[in-house]
Amino acid sequence: MRRELRAPGFLAAAGLGLVLIAALPQWAEVYTIFNLSVYAVLATLALSLGLVWGMGGLLGFGQSAFFGLGGYAYAIAAINFAGSGPGLLAAIVLPVLAAAVIGYFAFFGRISDVYFAVISLTVSLILYNLINTTSGAAYRIGQAPLGGYNGIPSVPPLNLPFAGTPLSFEGTFYAAAGLLLAVYLALRLLMRSRFGRVVVSVRESETRAELLGYDVRLYKLGVFLIGAAVAGAAGAFYAAWGAFIGPDVFSIGFAAQIIVWVLLGGLGTLIGPVIGCFVVQALTAWLGEFEGSNPNIVLGVLFLAAVMLLPKGIVPTLRSATGRLMRARAAAGPREPAA
């Protein structure tokens, strides 16, 4: 792990990320910065599924549920305690607790992968229906109304620690993009650690990992909890960004969207889901500008094309293409002097 800290790839990623974050607000319009902020938040969510599914091999349709729980926990805590600090804390603790309960029964109860996917989807749908029934005035937690299908409006924005002043558009961008970069780099380190390497081995062969003496249940639970924490934090930023959180975060459509980001970007990589999310979100926004067009149909066709042409996703395809190119050059290189 310490080696990874000094690795050129890691340092380059950190440097490039910092430069991008610092430079973008200098020339981009406020509108673009505002949009990029939410892309960064959604990309953090994509990253969390990239970790749990791509690295841990656990396909959950419920990653959005942790995002939604994080958003609601942030909204309720931030409204009641007047500040984003308690909100952020709640947005991480609540999804992690929920993941601990689900994960305990799924992994220690030896539930198969397919049932795990079904259970995670079911949890999302239960939350969706549950929140939708809370529209009456009686449904409130402290000063926060749950709002049912209307959601919770006036969610407090992010503020600097120990200061009441809310962040500006630019400040929110720095926070959201900073979260994405920090999570990405932290997960890169995690995947280099013993824990991360064992998690990947469990994905490859649970049987062999067990025969080597690894308690695979703990590794699955661990990676699931980390994924829930990241998704929860992203949910908090999402609610703070739009000053709103509603039950749509628990819908099937949203759950499916995250899977599309991850698949398009590339399963088994960390940067892939981030790129997949940015590409899909930017395309959706761009297609939305054409009057009379339906972005969903165009996106659906694009996705089908991508799955058929790039079955492994954008990043793995690019990687193997550059790998082939390098090998071809290396193979061609020595021959030249002889000729």
Binding site: S205, T207, R208, E210, L211, G213, Y214
Partner: protein, 243 residues
């Protein structure tokens, strides 16, 4: 408390009313090398799967170094010092060869030794050239070596090898025999093998399983001249026994 290193008593495993293992008694001393033979369906692999904790016995007890390991999880059994090379190689297919070995070494030998053990084994097993290749892209023989390497990297006290020479070239078989000779006496080994030439070269004592039971347990020479064994093998592998 028994003095045996590994002891199975009246071990049964039934699948839907069919007994794959039907009352096996098996005792192994520390440092012993035992070969396990028997026709297909004799219960060898099921027996192995019970020893590693992958299958819980329907009846009976298994003791390892005085611990009752009956029904324990595979990772717990592995931590007591049991390593297995399965019949169908069980590997981390999508990971490089070196990573496969490292994961085995890291668990059993700790962070300080893991890198060194991995490097040593890559050299020793002639896998250094394919260290960065994904295991899934290797030939069958090389995959066998990777799995053997994983077992060695964990350096267990008890090694269970299920058909270690299957599908290997004659050179590779020679190397496997040499490897087993090196381990003889230093580690306790149980080897399942169909190739009678191979068994003859390495075996001290052979246990013959037949229809889920121990048919006979003796030296290889006595086994070969035992009419009951010939009877049990007749048809499918009688020719193999003469080899």
């Amino acid at each position: 408390m028994s003095a045996a290193f590994l002891e199975a008593r009246d071990l049964w495993r039934t699948f839907g009313g069919v007994a794959a293992v039907a009352g096996v008694d098996f005792t192994l001393a520390q440092g012993e090398l035992r070969c396990l033979i028997g026709a297909n369906g004799a219960g060898k692999s099921t027996f192995f799967r019970m020893l590693t904790g992958q299958l819980a016995p329907t009846r009976g007890r298994i003791r390892l170094k005085g611990h009752d390991i009956t029904g324990r999880a595979p990772f717990e059994v592995a931590r007591l010092g049991v390593g297995i090379k399965t019949q169908v190689p069980s590997l981390f297919e999508g990971l490089p060869v070196a990573e496969n070995l490292w994961l085995a070494a890291r668990r059993a030998q700790g962070a300080r030794r893991a890198d060194a053990v991995t490097a040593e084994l890559l050299e020793e097993l002639r896998l250094a050239r394919v260290a960065d290749a994904e295991v899934g892209t290797l030939s069958h023989g090389q995959r066998q070596w990777v799995e053997l390497g994983m077992v060695l990297a964990a350096d267990p006290e008890l090694l269970l090898l299920d058909e270690p020479a299957a599908g290997m070239t004659s050179d590779e078989v020679e190397a496997t025999v040499a490897l087993i000779e090196r381990l003889r006496g230093r580690r306790t080994l149980v080897i399942v093998e169909h190739d009678m030439h191979f068994v003859r070269r390495i075996a001290e004592k052979v246990t013959v399983l037949h229809r889920g039971r121990v048919l006979v347990e003796d030296t290889m020479d006595s086994i070969l001249s035992n009419p009951a064994v010939r009877e049990a093998y007749l048809g499918s592998r009688a020719g193999g026994l003469d080899g």
